[in-house]
Amino acid sequence: MNDHTVELDLNDVCDAVELPRNTFIKMVEYGIVEPRGETPTEWSFDLTMVSIARRAVRLRRDLKLNWAAVALVVELIEEREQLQAENELLNQRLQRFLQE
């Protein structure tokens, strides 16, 4: 019933994030989501991409951003999440090594 290695094609991903095809293609052009495959008919998106697309749609709608700004925000959020995770890990490892 559940599938975690599944990939969605363009139609399915448009359904999932409730966007018309052309608008979704724009998101790809702005580099917000990166499909596997060359042409739109061959494109496939993993589940992480679907989540990113959904976040991008929310940001655009709620903060009234244009796609260029959405691309930047999405990238910065991801970078921040990565840095936070790295920081937490380093902090934790440091704590294990230091005496209380």
């Binding site: 975690h4 999932a16 589940l47 992480t48 989540s51 959020i77 294990r96």
Partner: protein, 314 residues
């Protein structure tokens, strides 16, 4: 039902113009947007702000709300005055609104269906929304396929046609080797569709729960293991915990604090390969030194020419 003072929520005055309201909304939207905010109740706050803006940015809704406002105070229980009915054509837009909002502007779900959808077969059918929830997983549970029971709030159309949440439980197979932030999709387990629309999907986002002993670096694990000074100096065979039980590890003579030993294949199960376990040595001294041990340390101190601070001298 609680009265909501939309002006107060946006921090504007009732006489403020549209531009001021827009500016206030933009500022608060950035502050509370669940995707960017670190505030703990960001999502609830954002919904309130969005709802307030939805009403105050529309001339009709704002006029209707202003009329009602004389009957209520922020945070107080509120019932619309008898005979109150929202004006025709006030419209409805897609969103997740409070009871207060719906009592004024209506929650007629036919309006919900007008949020046009790219591939809807007809305008009164639409696919249900996808739901995304976090799924905490213990490191131990990633070593093999595990079946977990999850509980989540699933919206459904109640008898009155309003969206209500029900608590739903599901059994889910968590495949071996899942990684942090990986997604699992459960088809058709999201919000129900409207009309002939199919239900949405449920997305689980895996969150590896921090372990008291092991840190995760990609597929690899690391553990900090305390050793006695003599174990580090002379070498030793010590017991080290792994995710799948204790193993014996040999420490070489003259080991330093911070030295790393790699135990192949004792990390997490990855898609391509099995991760490794890194054992990091940490030399520790007993809390109390008894007389006999002190004597032994003194003997060592008098005989050793070791200068641990040779690098610090000018």
């Amino acid at each position: 039902m609680e009265f909501k003072d939309y002006y107060k929520i946006l921090g504007v005055k009732p006489e403020d113009d549209k531009k001021a309201i827009k500016t206030a909304y933009r500022r608060l939207a950035r502050k509370y947007h669940p995707d960017v905010s670190k505030e703990h109740d960001a999502e609830a706050q954002f919904k309130l702000v969005a709802e307030a803006y939805e009403v105050l940015s529309s001339d009709e809704k704002r006029a209707e709300y202003d009329q009602l406002r004389q009957y209520g105070t922020q945070g107080q229980p509120f019932t619309p005055p008898p005979g109150w009915q929202h004006g025709e054509g006030a419209g409805y837009s897609e969103g997740d609104y409070s009871d207060f909002f719906e009592s004024i502007f209506g929650a007629d779900f036919h309006h919900r269906a007008t949020g046009a959808h790219a591939r809807s077969e007809d305008r009164f059918s639409r696919r249900g929304q996808d739901i995304e929830i976090d799924m905490p997983i213990f490191l131990e549970d990633t070593l093999s396929d595990e079946t977990k029971t999850i509980a989540y709030n699933l919206p459904h159309y109640g008898e009155t046609g309003r969206m209500e949440d029900i608590r739903k439980t599901l059994k889910v197979k968590i495949p071996k080797g899942v990684t942090d932030k990986a997604r699992i999709r459960l088809k058709g387990q999201g919000a129900p569709g409207f009309g002939n629309g199919t239900p949405g999907d449920l997305y689980l986002k895996i969150k590896l729960v921090p372990h008291p002993l092991f840190d995760v670096i990609g597929n690899d694990l690391s553990i900090t293991v305390p050793v006695a000074p003599w174990e580090a100096a002379l070498g030793a065979s010590i017991e080290v915990p792994t995710l799948s039980g204790q193993i014996k590890v040999t420490i070489k003579p003259d080991s330093q604090s911070g030295n790393r030993l790699r135990i192949k294949g004792k990390g997490l199960s990855g898609k391509k390969s099995q991760g490794d376990l890194y054992v990091i040595l940490k030399i520790v001294i007993p809390d109390k030194t008894d007389a006999e041990s002190a004597q032994l340390w003194k003997t060592l101190a008098s005989k050793s020419s070791f200068n641990p601070r040779s690098d610090l001298t000018n």
